[in-house]
Structure formats: structure tokens, C-alpha cells
Symmetry: C2
Amino acid sequence: MDFTVDFSEQENFYLIKVEGEIDAYHSATFKQKTKEKLTELSHTKYVIDMSLVSYIDSAGLGAIVSLLKESRNLKKELILVGLQPQVRKIFEMTKLDKIVKIVDTIDEI
Amino acid sequence: MDFTVDFSEQENFYLIKVEGEIDAYHSATFKQKTKEKLTELSHTKYVIDMSLVSYIDSAGLGAIVSLLKESRNLKKELILVGLQPQVRKIFEMTKLDKIVKIVDTIDEI
């Protein structure tokens, strides 16, 4: 299964676009690369576009929780956008949707 | 909500008995205390009794994943026992049941 993370500067936020499954095989790379951007760049708002993420497992959830903690430590905002229904369901069951800001589309940011 | 973790030496393994919800409020303490036992004691088998755990959230799953990594680094075995159906469901949805050994009762260890 292919997995890619694209990083790009947008006008009002920093965009992290993920494609594939955020699982035990890919979550470490995703977490590490995103953490680097969080710590090294000076943006205040980081947006993870999840619209092409078809699945997230326990390791992926752990990565998101870890990035959320890091962003709070740095006084930065982490926002997730475009969760597919089956991914949103996992966020709801594990109450991750209560601790991280989630919006439907980029326009809402 | 009360949350307790009891640690005890058993004949063939080290037992960690958790009661309550392993959530964002309690997972850090649970992870830290259990990690201390994993690193400081010389047992090869650590058993987490989850029979009195009614819920686990994304932070709790992250704690379990982290403990699992730690135990593998230390060449120790981590086994979960007695998951309630709603907790097992969350383990299945996030595929955590594929990477950690889970048994129904203590007798199976």
C-alpha cells in the first residue's frame, strides 16, 4: 500500500496532506516528519488533510495524539480536515474527536 | 471516575491490574508506572488484567502501543487479559488486537 505525506506552505496555515493508511507501518515516519515541521517552522496553524486517508489504526491514533501534545506544548494549533466516514467513526469511538479540532473542508479553516 | 492500577508479583508473571477507564485523564500515569515496572524489574512476562476496564480511548491505545514497543525493546512479553466486549471492539477496529497478545482468562497464560 502506497503512503505519502506532502508538506506545503499555504497563505494562512501549513498544510500536511496524507494519502494512504496511517497504520503501524507508516505512522512512525508520518509522526517524525510532521513533528519536525511543527518544531522547525514558525507557523501557528497546522492542517492535516485526511481526505485521502482510508484507515487509521491504534499506532496512527497514537501518532495523532503525540502530535497534538507537541503542538500544544509549542502553542500551535493542529486541525484535521476531511475525515472519511470510517476514519471519523474510529475517532468518535476513541473520543479523539473531542480533543482535536476537526473540520469538513479546508474552507472552514 | 475512580482509576486504580495494582501491581503484584505472581508465580509465573508480573501482574498489572487496571480498574476504570484508560483515557486521556489516566493513561499518562498508567503508562509511566507500568513502564517503570517493565524497566526496573526482571520479569520476562507482564500481564495487564483489563477485566475491570470499561473503556479505552485514543490516548489509552497510545499508552498500550508505547508499552508494547518498550516491552519488545526489552525482549519482554506483554499480554492483555479479559477485555470487555466494548473494549475488544475498539482493539479490533484499530487492529491493536493483531500486534499484542490477548487472552480471555489468566489460566491461559
